[in-house]
Protein backbone atom coordinates (compact mmCIF):
# COMPACT_ATOMS: atom_id res chain seq x y z
CA UNK A 1 0.00 0.00 0.00
CA UNK A 2 1.22 3.52 -0.68
CA UNK A 3 0.92 6.52 1.64
CA UNK A 4 -2.56 7.46 0.51
CA UNK A 5 -3.85 3.88 0.51
CA UNK A 6 -2.61 3.30 4.04
CA UNK A 7 -4.47 6.38 5.19
CA UNK A 8 -7.63 5.35 3.40
CA UNK A 9 -7.48 1.95 5.05
CA UNK A 10 -7.45 3.56 8.50
CA UNK A 11 -10.33 5.82 7.56
CA UNK A 12 -12.26 2.74 6.52
CA UNK A 13 -11.50 0.92 9.79
CA UNK A 14 -12.85 3.85 11.75
CA UNK A 15 -15.94 4.26 9.59
CA UNK A 16 -17.24 0.98 11.01
CA UNK A 17 -18.03 2.74 14.29
CA UNK A 18 -20.56 5.53 14.80
CA UNK A 19 -20.07 5.70 18.49
CA UNK A 20 -17.23 7.81 19.82
CA UNK A 21 -16.48 5.47 22.66
CA UNK A 22 -15.97 2.59 20.21
CA UNK A 23 -13.56 4.68 18.15
CA UNK A 24 -11.64 5.40 21.31
CA UNK A 25 -11.62 1.75 22.30
CA UNK A 26 -9.90 1.04 19.00
CA UNK A 27 -7.36 3.80 19.58
CA UNK A 28 -6.67 2.50 23.07
CA UNK A 29 -6.13 -1.03 21.77
CA UNK A 30 -3.69 0.37 19.22
CA UNK A 31 -1.98 2.26 22.01
CA UNK A 32 -1.39 -0.99 23.84
CA UNK A 33 0.22 -2.50 20.72
CA UNK A 34 2.67 0.21 19.83
CA UNK A 35 6.38 -0.57 19.69
CA UNK A 36 7.67 1.37 22.64
CA UNK A 37 10.96 2.87 23.55
CA UNK A 38 12.04 1.01 26.72
CA UNK A 39 12.30 3.38 29.69
CA UNK A 40 16.04 2.97 30.05
CA UNK A 41 16.51 3.94 26.39
CA UNK A 42 14.49 7.15 26.65
CA UNK A 43 16.60 10.23 26.07
CA UNK A 44 15.81 13.79 27.02
CA UNK A 45 16.33 14.93 23.46
CA UNK A 46 13.56 12.55 22.38
CA UNK A 47 11.10 14.07 24.80
CA UNK A 48 8.36 16.37 23.58
CA UNK A 49 6.83 18.05 26.57
CA UNK A 50 3.10 18.70 26.27
CA UNK A 51 1.04 20.31 28.96
CA UNK A 52 -1.24 17.27 29.23
CA UNK A 53 0.83 14.32 28.11
CA UNK A 54 4.44 13.68 27.15
CA UNK A 55 5.75 12.07 23.99
CA UNK A 56 9.07 10.45 23.12
CA UNK A 57 10.11 10.09 19.51
CA UNK A 58 13.07 8.35 17.90
CA UNK A 59 13.60 8.42 14.15
CA UNK A 60 15.74 6.01 12.12
CA UNK A 61 16.75 6.28 8.49
CA UNK A 62 17.58 2.96 6.86
CA UNK A 63 17.90 1.87 3.22
CA UNK A 64 16.28 5.02 1.97
CA UNK A 65 13.30 4.77 4.29
CA UNK A 66 12.13 6.28 7.57
CA UNK A 67 11.30 4.26 10.69
CA UNK A 68 9.89 5.75 13.86
CA UNK A 69 9.66 4.56 17.45
CA UNK A 70 7.55 6.51 19.87
CA UNK A 71 5.93 6.41 23.25
CA UNK A 72 3.69 8.48 25.46
CA UNK A 73 2.63 8.40 29.08
CA UNK A 74 -1.04 8.69 28.01
CA UNK A 75 -2.51 5.73 26.18
CA UNK A 76 -4.85 7.68 23.91
CA UNK A 77 -1.93 9.78 22.77
CA UNK A 78 -0.02 6.54 22.25
CA UNK A 79 -2.83 5.10 20.14
CA UNK A 80 -2.82 8.12 17.87
CA UNK A 81 0.96 7.86 17.62
CA UNK A 82 0.64 4.27 16.54
CA UNK A 83 -1.68 5.32 13.71
CA UNK A 84 0.83 7.91 12.59
CA UNK A 85 3.62 5.36 12.70
CA UNK A 86 1.57 2.83 10.75
CA UNK A 87 1.19 5.35 7.97
CA UNK A 88 4.68 6.79 8.00
CA UNK A 89 6.92 3.81 8.70
CA UNK A 90 8.84 2.44 5.73
CA UNK A 91 8.09 5.48 3.59
CA UNK A 92 10.67 7.51 1.77
CA UNK A 93 11.61 10.79 3.45
CA UNK A 94 10.30 12.73 0.51
CA UNK A 95 6.82 11.20 0.82
CA UNK A 96 6.62 12.02 4.52
CA UNK A 97 7.89 15.54 4.04
CA UNK A 98 5.70 16.41 1.08
CA UNK A 99 2.54 14.35 0.98
CA UNK A 100 -0.66 15.26 2.73
CA UNK A 101 -1.41 13.64 6.06
CA UNK A 102 -5.18 13.70 5.86
CA UNK A 103 -6.49 10.70 7.80
CA UNK A 104 -6.38 12.29 11.25
CA UNK A 105 -8.85 14.90 10.18
CA UNK A 106 -11.01 12.44 8.27
CA UNK A 107 -11.52 10.18 11.27
CA UNK A 108 -12.37 13.16 13.43
CA UNK A 109 -9.29 13.20 15.63
CA UNK A 110 -8.01 16.59 14.56
CA UNK A 111 -8.81 17.98 18.00
CA UNK A 112 -5.84 15.98 19.24
CA UNK A 113 -3.63 17.71 16.73
CA UNK A 114 -4.75 21.21 17.61
CA UNK A 115 -2.04 23.30 19.23
CA UNK A 116 -4.33 24.04 22.17
CA UNK A 117 -4.59 20.38 23.04
CA UNK A 118 -1.06 20.54 24.38
CA UNK A 119 -0.50 16.80 24.30
CA UNK A 120 2.73 16.97 22.34
CA UNK A 121 1.28 15.50 19.14
CA UNK A 122 1.48 18.58 16.96
CA UNK A 123 5.10 18.99 17.87
CA UNK A 124 5.66 15.29 17.25
CA UNK A 125 4.28 15.35 13.70
CA UNK A 126 6.37 18.40 13.01
CA UNK A 127 9.46 16.56 14.25
CA UNK A 128 8.66 13.43 12.25
CA UNK A 129 8.56 15.53 9.11
CA UNK A 130 11.70 17.46 9.99
CA UNK A 131 13.59 14.25 10.68
CA UNK A 132 12.48 13.01 7.26
CA UNK A 133 13.62 16.23 5.57
CA UNK A 134 17.09 15.80 7.09
CA UNK A 135 17.44 12.61 5.09
CA UNK A 136 16.61 13.75 1.63
Amino acid sequence: MNYTEKQNAIIEDFSLFDDWMEKYELIIDLGKEIEMIPNQDKRDEQLIEGCQSRVWLKSNYKDGKMFYFADSDAIITKGIISLLIKVMNGEEPKTIAKEDLFFIKEIGLQEHLSPTRANGLVEMVKRMKLDAIKNY
Partner: protein, 411 residues
Protein backbone atom coordinates in the same frame (compact mmCIF):
# COMPACT_ATOMS: atom_id res chain seq x y z
CA UNK B 1 -27.99 11.03 51.58
CA UNK B 2 -31.16 11.90 49.70
CA UNK B 3 -32.09 15.37 48.63
CA UNK B 4 -35.29 16.78 49.97
CA UNK B 5 -37.79 17.82 47.35
CA UNK B 6 -37.40 21.37 48.62
CA UNK B 7 -33.64 21.55 48.03
CA UNK B 8 -34.13 19.78 44.71
CA UNK B 9 -36.53 22.51 43.67
CA UNK B 10 -34.13 25.23 44.80
CA UNK B 11 -31.36 23.74 42.67
CA UNK B 12 -33.69 23.35 39.69
CA UNK B 13 -34.61 26.99 40.06
CA UNK B 14 -30.93 27.98 40.04
CA UNK B 15 -30.21 25.69 37.08
CA UNK B 16 -32.96 27.31 35.04
CA UNK B 17 -31.10 30.61 35.30
CA UNK B 18 -28.03 29.21 33.51
CA UNK B 19 -28.82 28.83 29.80
CA UNK B 20 -25.65 26.88 28.96
CA UNK B 21 -26.72 23.95 31.14
CA UNK B 22 -29.13 22.83 28.43
CA UNK B 23 -26.28 22.44 25.91
CA UNK B 24 -25.49 19.06 24.42
CA UNK B 25 -21.85 17.93 24.30
CA UNK B 26 -21.04 15.06 21.95
CA UNK B 27 -24.77 14.41 21.77
CA UNK B 28 -25.26 14.20 25.54
CA UNK B 29 -26.47 16.61 28.19
CA UNK B 30 -23.58 18.71 29.41
CA UNK B 31 -22.35 17.85 32.87
CA UNK B 32 -20.20 20.78 33.86
CA UNK B 33 -17.77 19.85 36.61
CA UNK B 34 -15.06 22.39 35.83
CA UNK B 35 -16.36 25.21 37.99
CA UNK B 36 -12.98 25.90 39.57
CA UNK B 37 -11.69 26.89 36.13
CA UNK B 38 -14.59 29.18 35.44
CA UNK B 39 -18.23 29.37 36.48
CA UNK B 40 -21.11 29.47 34.06
CA UNK B 41 -23.08 32.71 33.71
CA UNK B 42 -26.66 33.35 34.75
CA UNK B 43 -29.08 35.04 32.32
CA UNK B 44 -29.04 38.29 34.28
CA UNK B 45 -25.32 38.69 33.61
CA UNK B 46 -25.61 37.71 29.94
CA UNK B 47 -28.57 40.05 29.46
CA UNK B 48 -26.76 42.89 31.18
CA UNK B 49 -23.87 42.62 28.73
CA UNK B 50 -26.18 42.54 25.73
CA UNK B 51 -28.31 45.36 27.04
CA UNK B 52 -25.30 47.52 27.80
CA UNK B 53 -24.02 47.35 24.25
CA UNK B 54 -27.50 47.80 22.80
CA UNK B 55 -28.61 50.70 24.96
CA UNK B 56 -25.97 52.12 27.27
CA UNK B 57 -22.54 51.98 25.64
CA UNK B 58 -20.32 55.04 26.16
CA UNK B 59 -16.92 55.81 27.59
CA UNK B 60 -16.82 56.69 31.26
CA UNK B 61 -15.33 59.34 33.53
CA UNK B 62 -14.91 61.74 30.63
CA UNK B 63 -18.08 62.70 28.81
CA UNK B 64 -20.58 65.39 29.64
CA UNK B 65 -23.24 63.72 27.54
CA UNK B 66 -26.00 61.70 29.15
CA UNK B 67 -24.92 58.28 27.94
CA UNK B 68 -21.43 58.75 29.32
CA UNK B 69 -22.84 59.98 32.61
CA UNK B 70 -25.13 56.99 32.85
CA UNK B 71 -22.35 54.53 32.00
CA UNK B 72 -20.13 56.16 34.62
CA UNK B 73 -22.87 55.87 37.21
CA UNK B 74 -23.48 52.21 36.36
CA UNK B 75 -19.77 51.43 36.59
CA UNK B 76 -19.42 53.18 39.94
CA UNK B 77 -22.58 51.53 41.23
CA UNK B 78 -21.06 48.16 40.39
CA UNK B 79 -17.98 49.12 42.37
CA UNK B 80 -20.20 50.11 45.27
CA UNK B 81 -22.13 46.88 45.07
CA UNK B 82 -18.95 44.82 45.24
CA UNK B 83 -17.48 46.99 47.97
CA UNK B 84 -20.50 46.62 50.20
CA UNK B 85 -20.91 42.90 49.51
CA UNK B 86 -17.32 42.30 50.58
CA UNK B 87 -17.54 44.90 53.36
CA UNK B 88 -14.59 47.05 52.30
CA UNK B 89 -14.21 50.24 54.29
CA UNK B 90 -14.71 52.37 51.21
CA UNK B 91 -15.50 52.01 47.50
CA UNK B 92 -12.14 53.57 46.70
CA UNK B 93 -10.43 50.45 48.03
CA UNK B 94 -11.99 48.39 45.23
CA UNK B 95 -9.87 48.53 42.10
CA UNK B 96 -11.08 46.94 38.90
CA UNK B 97 -8.46 44.72 37.26
CA UNK B 98 -8.43 42.12 34.51
CA UNK B 99 -8.53 39.33 37.09
CA UNK B 100 -6.58 37.61 39.83
CA UNK B 101 -3.37 37.37 37.83
CA UNK B 102 -3.54 41.05 36.95
CA UNK B 103 -4.19 41.99 40.59
CA UNK B 104 -1.20 40.02 41.86
CA UNK B 105 1.03 41.50 39.19
CA UNK B 106 -0.14 44.97 40.14
CA UNK B 107 0.86 44.39 43.75
CA UNK B 108 4.16 42.77 42.80
CA UNK B 109 5.02 45.78 40.62
CA UNK B 110 3.74 48.56 42.80
CA UNK B 111 4.04 47.31 46.38
CA UNK B 112 7.21 45.58 45.17
CA UNK B 113 8.72 49.01 44.45
CA UNK B 114 8.63 49.71 48.19
CA UNK B 115 10.73 46.65 49.00
CA UNK B 116 14.48 46.48 49.54
CA UNK B 117 17.06 43.78 48.82
CA UNK B 118 16.92 40.96 51.40
CA UNK B 119 13.27 41.67 52.24
CA UNK B 120 11.27 38.42 52.28
CA UNK B 121 7.99 37.35 50.78
CA UNK B 122 6.29 34.18 51.95
CA UNK B 123 4.12 32.10 49.64
CA UNK B 124 2.94 28.50 50.01
CA UNK B 125 3.65 25.31 48.11
CA UNK B 126 0.03 25.15 46.94
CA UNK B 127 -0.03 28.46 45.07
CA UNK B 128 -1.32 28.89 41.56
CA UNK B 129 1.43 29.84 39.12
CA UNK B 130 0.03 33.35 39.09
CA UNK B 131 0.92 33.68 42.77
CA UNK B 132 4.44 32.37 42.17
CA UNK B 133 5.81 33.83 38.96
CA UNK B 134 5.15 37.55 39.67
CA UNK B 135 7.20 37.17 42.88
CA UNK B 136 9.99 35.41 41.01
CA UNK B 137 10.10 38.31 38.57
CA UNK B 138 10.26 40.69 41.52
CA UNK B 139 12.95 38.55 43.11
CA UNK B 140 15.23 39.05 40.15
CA UNK B 141 14.36 42.73 39.86
CA UNK B 142 14.64 43.80 43.49
CA UNK B 143 16.80 41.02 44.96
CA UNK B 144 14.17 40.14 47.52
CA UNK B 145 13.83 36.55 48.75
CA UNK B 146 10.90 34.16 48.35
CA UNK B 147 10.21 31.68 51.13
CA UNK B 148 7.86 28.77 50.49
CA UNK B 149 5.71 27.24 53.22
CA UNK B 150 5.50 23.47 52.69
CA UNK B 151 2.29 21.45 52.82
CA UNK B 152 1.48 18.19 54.60
CA UNK B 153 0.57 15.00 52.70
CA UNK B 154 -3.09 15.84 53.37
CA UNK B 155 -2.60 19.00 51.33
CA UNK B 156 -2.92 21.23 54.39
CA UNK B 157 -0.48 24.01 54.96
CA UNK B 158 2.30 23.37 57.50
CA UNK B 159 1.48 26.11 60.02
CA UNK B 160 4.45 25.36 62.20
CA UNK B 161 6.79 25.80 59.26
CA UNK B 162 4.95 29.00 58.41
CA UNK B 163 5.57 30.45 61.86
CA UNK B 164 9.23 29.50 61.62
CA UNK B 165 9.54 31.37 58.34
CA UNK B 166 7.96 34.55 59.68
CA UNK B 167 10.45 37.14 60.87
CA UNK B 168 11.05 40.88 60.86
CA UNK B 169 12.36 40.69 57.27
CA UNK B 170 9.02 39.31 56.07
CA UNK B 171 7.31 42.14 54.23
CA UNK B 172 4.50 40.26 52.54
CA UNK B 173 2.70 36.95 52.93
CA UNK B 174 0.87 36.05 49.73
CA UNK B 175 -1.31 33.04 50.09
CA UNK B 176 -4.32 31.46 48.51
CA UNK B 177 -7.54 31.28 50.49
CA UNK B 178 -8.54 28.03 48.80
CA UNK B 179 -6.31 25.75 46.74
CA UNK B 180 -7.58 25.49 43.17
CA UNK B 181 -6.13 22.04 42.59
CA UNK B 182 -6.98 20.38 45.92
CA UNK B 183 -9.89 22.44 47.28
CA UNK B 184 -8.22 22.82 50.68
CA UNK B 185 -9.32 25.88 52.68
CA UNK B 186 -6.41 27.62 54.37
CA UNK B 187 -6.72 29.05 57.89
CA UNK B 188 -6.20 32.56 56.57
CA UNK B 189 -7.48 34.38 59.66
CA UNK B 190 -4.74 32.83 61.72
CA UNK B 191 -2.19 33.44 58.96
CA UNK B 192 -3.19 37.09 58.74
CA UNK B 193 -3.05 37.58 62.49
CA UNK B 194 0.38 35.96 62.85
CA UNK B 195 1.80 37.85 59.88
CA UNK B 196 0.68 41.16 61.32
CA UNK B 197 2.51 40.42 64.55
CA UNK B 198 5.85 40.68 62.69
CA UNK B 199 4.62 43.64 60.67
CA UNK B 200 4.16 41.77 57.38
CA UNK B 201 1.33 42.65 55.02
CA UNK B 202 -0.94 39.92 53.72
CA UNK B 203 -2.28 39.34 50.22
CA UNK B 204 -5.07 36.79 49.91
CA UNK B 205 -5.64 35.10 46.54
CA UNK B 206 -9.41 34.77 46.64
CA UNK B 207 -9.82 33.31 43.14
CA UNK B 208 -11.42 30.17 44.57
CA UNK B 209 -13.13 31.60 47.61
CA UNK B 210 -15.65 34.36 46.86
CA UNK B 211 -17.96 31.86 45.14
CA UNK B 212 -17.87 29.46 48.10
CA UNK B 213 -17.31 31.52 51.25
CA UNK B 214 -18.86 34.70 52.54
CA UNK B 215 -16.05 37.27 52.61
CA UNK B 216 -15.91 40.14 55.09
CA UNK B 217 -12.78 42.12 54.27
CA UNK B 218 -12.76 44.28 57.38
CA UNK B 219 -13.21 41.31 59.63
CA UNK B 220 -10.53 39.30 57.79
CA UNK B 221 -8.25 42.31 58.11
CA UNK B 222 -6.05 41.26 55.18
CA UNK B 223 -4.15 44.05 53.44
CA UNK B 224 -4.88 42.93 49.89
CA UNK B 225 -7.46 40.58 48.41
CA UNK B 226 -7.74 39.64 44.73
CA UNK B 227 -10.19 37.60 42.68
CA UNK B 228 -11.47 37.06 39.12
CA UNK B 229 -14.95 37.96 37.93
CA UNK B 230 -15.27 34.91 35.70
CA UNK B 231 -15.18 32.48 38.60
CA UNK B 232 -18.00 34.23 40.45
CA UNK B 233 -20.65 34.11 37.69
CA UNK B 234 -19.32 37.29 36.06
CA UNK B 235 -17.63 37.84 32.70
CA UNK B 236 -13.99 37.14 31.82
CA UNK B 237 -11.49 39.95 31.60
CA UNK B 238 -12.54 41.69 34.80
CA UNK B 239 -11.61 41.19 38.41
CA UNK B 240 -11.03 43.03 41.64
CA UNK B 241 -8.10 44.09 43.73
CA UNK B 242 -8.99 45.21 47.22
CA UNK B 243 -6.32 47.05 49.15
CA UNK B 244 -6.36 49.01 52.37
CA UNK B 245 -6.38 52.67 51.35
CA UNK B 246 -3.45 53.61 53.58
CA UNK B 247 -1.33 51.13 51.61
CA UNK B 248 -2.70 51.91 48.17
CA UNK B 249 -2.07 55.60 48.84
CA UNK B 250 1.65 55.14 49.42
CA UNK B 251 2.13 52.69 46.55
CA UNK B 252 3.35 54.10 43.21
CA UNK B 253 1.05 53.81 40.17
CA UNK B 254 1.22 50.56 38.22
CA UNK B 255 0.50 51.77 34.72
CA UNK B 256 0.36 55.29 33.30
CA UNK B 257 -2.26 56.68 31.00
CA UNK B 258 -5.66 58.29 30.92
CA UNK B 259 -7.99 58.29 33.93
CA UNK B 260 -5.19 57.70 36.44
CA UNK B 261 -3.89 61.27 36.31
CA UNK B 262 -4.92 64.48 37.97
CA UNK B 263 -2.85 66.81 35.84
CA UNK B 264 -0.32 66.12 33.12
CA UNK B 265 2.43 68.41 31.96
CA UNK B 266 5.91 67.77 30.64
CA UNK B 267 7.35 69.28 33.81
CA UNK B 268 5.28 67.36 36.34
CA UNK B 269 2.35 64.97 36.32
CA UNK B 270 0.21 64.39 39.37
CA UNK B 271 -1.91 61.34 39.93
CA UNK B 272 -5.57 60.84 40.49
CA UNK B 273 -7.02 59.69 43.80
CA UNK B 274 -7.97 56.08 44.60
CA UNK B 275 -9.21 53.94 43.01
CA UNK B 276 -8.50 55.72 39.70
CA UNK B 277 -4.77 55.98 40.36
CA UNK B 278 -4.60 52.25 39.60
CA UNK B 279 -7.03 52.21 36.69
CA UNK B 280 -5.16 53.59 33.69
CA UNK B 281 -6.93 53.75 30.36
CA UNK B 282 -10.47 52.90 29.35
CA UNK B 283 -11.38 49.99 31.58
CA UNK B 284 -13.48 46.93 30.85
CA UNK B 285 -16.63 48.96 31.42
CA UNK B 286 -19.20 46.35 30.55
CA UNK B 287 -17.17 43.78 32.49
CA UNK B 288 -17.26 45.89 35.64
CA UNK B 289 -20.96 46.58 35.30
CA UNK B 290 -21.80 42.93 34.64
CA UNK B 291 -19.62 41.88 37.57
CA UNK B 292 -21.83 44.10 39.72
CA UNK B 293 -24.81 42.20 38.32
CA UNK B 294 -23.08 38.92 39.19
CA UNK B 295 -22.93 40.12 42.79
CA UNK B 296 -26.62 41.03 42.64
CA UNK B 297 -27.17 37.45 41.54
CA UNK B 298 -25.07 36.08 44.43
CA UNK B 299 -27.02 38.32 46.79
CA UNK B 300 -30.27 36.86 45.47
CA UNK B 301 -29.18 33.35 46.45
CA UNK B 302 -29.68 31.74 49.77
CA UNK B 303 -25.91 31.60 50.19
CA UNK B 304 -25.86 29.28 53.18
CA UNK B 305 -28.17 26.84 51.46
CA UNK B 306 -25.87 26.89 48.43
CA UNK B 307 -22.87 26.18 50.63
CA UNK B 308 -24.67 23.22 52.21
CA UNK B 309 -25.65 21.98 48.78
CA UNK B 310 -22.06 22.18 47.47
CA UNK B 311 -20.76 20.36 50.54
CA UNK B 312 -23.36 17.65 50.12
CA UNK B 313 -22.24 17.20 46.53
CA UNK B 314 -18.65 16.97 47.74
CA UNK B 315 -19.40 14.31 50.36
CA UNK B 316 -21.65 12.38 47.99
CA UNK B 317 -19.02 12.31 45.24
CA UNK B 318 -16.21 11.51 47.68
CA UNK B 319 -18.13 8.52 48.99
CA UNK B 320 -18.77 7.22 45.47
CA UNK B 321 -15.19 7.74 44.34
CA UNK B 322 -13.77 6.15 47.47
CA UNK B 323 -15.81 3.05 46.64
CA UNK B 324 -13.70 2.57 43.50
CA UNK B 325 -10.64 0.72 44.83
CA UNK B 326 -8.02 2.12 42.44
CA UNK B 327 -8.92 5.76 43.08
CA UNK B 328 -6.60 7.97 45.05
CA UNK B 329 -7.83 11.37 46.14
CA UNK B 330 -5.29 14.17 46.69
CA UNK B 331 -6.12 16.72 49.35
CA UNK B 332 -7.81 14.73 52.08
CA UNK B 333 -8.44 17.44 54.64
CA UNK B 334 -12.00 17.73 55.94
CA UNK B 335 -11.72 21.46 55.47
CA UNK B 336 -12.44 21.64 51.75
CA UNK B 337 -14.65 23.24 49.16
CA UNK B 338 -16.37 21.28 46.43
CA UNK B 339 -13.22 20.26 44.55
CA UNK B 340 -11.92 16.70 44.22
CA UNK B 341 -8.55 15.97 42.65
CA UNK B 342 -7.85 12.31 41.98
CA UNK B 343 -6.08 9.69 39.94
CA UNK B 344 -7.10 6.16 39.00
CA UNK B 345 -4.36 3.56 39.44
CA UNK B 346 -1.63 4.42 37.00
CA UNK B 347 -4.00 5.51 34.25
CA UNK B 348 -2.96 8.89 32.86
CA UNK B 349 -5.39 11.68 33.81
CA UNK B 350 -5.46 12.86 30.20
CA UNK B 351 -6.93 9.51 29.08
CA UNK B 352 -9.72 9.63 31.65
CA UNK B 353 -10.43 13.28 30.85
CA UNK B 354 -10.69 12.55 27.13
CA UNK B 355 -13.12 9.67 27.61
CA UNK B 356 -15.22 11.62 30.12
CA UNK B 357 -15.49 14.45 27.60
CA UNK B 358 -16.74 12.01 24.97
CA UNK B 359 -19.48 11.10 27.45
CA UNK B 360 -20.45 14.73 28.01
CA UNK B 361 -18.67 15.29 31.33
CA UNK B 362 -16.42 18.36 31.48
CA UNK B 363 -13.59 17.96 33.97
CA UNK B 364 -10.11 19.39 34.15
CA UNK B 365 -6.99 17.28 33.80
CA UNK B 366 -3.34 18.17 34.16
CA UNK B 367 -1.40 20.17 36.69
CA UNK B 368 -4.00 22.94 37.11
CA UNK B 369 -1.29 25.61 36.98
CA UNK B 370 0.14 24.28 40.23
CA UNK B 371 3.14 22.24 39.10
CA UNK B 372 4.86 22.39 42.51
CA UNK B 373 1.95 20.45 44.05
CA UNK B 374 2.20 17.78 41.37
CA UNK B 375 5.95 17.52 42.00
CA UNK B 376 5.19 17.23 45.71
CA UNK B 377 2.93 14.21 45.09
CA UNK B 378 5.21 13.00 42.24
CA UNK B 379 2.41 12.74 39.72
CA UNK B 380 2.05 14.20 36.22
CA UNK B 381 -1.32 15.66 37.06
CA UNK B 382 -4.76 14.82 38.35
CA UNK B 383 -8.34 14.67 37.23
CA UNK B 384 -10.19 17.48 38.96
CA UNK B 385 -13.93 17.70 39.37
CA UNK B 386 -15.29 20.89 40.89
CA UNK B 387 -18.95 21.41 41.67
CA UNK B 388 -21.01 24.57 41.59
CA UNK B 389 -24.34 25.63 42.98
CA UNK B 390 -26.20 24.32 39.93
CA UNK B 391 -24.80 20.78 39.97
CA UNK B 392 -26.83 17.82 41.19
CA UNK B 393 -26.39 14.37 42.68
CA UNK B 394 -27.95 12.93 39.52
CA UNK B 395 -25.09 14.46 37.57
CA UNK B 396 -22.61 12.90 39.97
CA UNK B 397 -24.24 9.49 39.40
CA UNK B 398 -23.87 9.95 35.63
CA UNK B 399 -20.30 11.09 36.06
CA UNK B 400 -19.41 8.07 38.20
CA UNK B 401 -20.98 5.75 35.63
CA UNK B 402 -19.01 7.48 32.86
CA UNK B 403 -15.87 7.23 34.96
CA UNK B 404 -16.37 3.52 35.57
CA UNK B 405 -16.87 2.97 31.87
CA UNK B 406 -13.68 4.90 31.10
CA UNK B 407 -11.71 2.90 33.66
CA UNK B 408 -13.00 -0.33 32.20
CA UNK B 409 -11.92 0.65 28.69
CA UNK B 410 -8.53 1.86 29.84
CA UNK B 411 -7.63 -1.05 32.10
Amino acid sequence: MKETSQSRRAVQDIRSQFPILTQKINGRDLIYFDNAATSQKPSVVIDKIKNYYEKENANIHRGVHSLSQEATTAYEQARHKISSYLNAKSDSEIIFTKGTTDGINLIASSFGELLNPEDEIIISAMEHHSNIVPWQLLESRKKIKIKVVPIHKTGEIDLEAFENLLNEKTKLVSITHISNSLGIINPIKEIIRKSHVVGAKVLIDGAQSVQHEKIDLQELNCDFFVFSGHKVYGPTGVGVLYGKSELLNIMPPYQGGGDMIEKVSFEKTTFNVLPFKFEAGTPNIVGGIALGTAFDFIDSLNFEQCQVHELELLRYAEAQLNAIPTIKIFGTSKNKTSVISFNVGDIHPFDIGTLLDKQGVAVRTGHHCTQPIMDFYQIPGTIRVSFGIYNTKDEIDLFVAALNKSIQILS
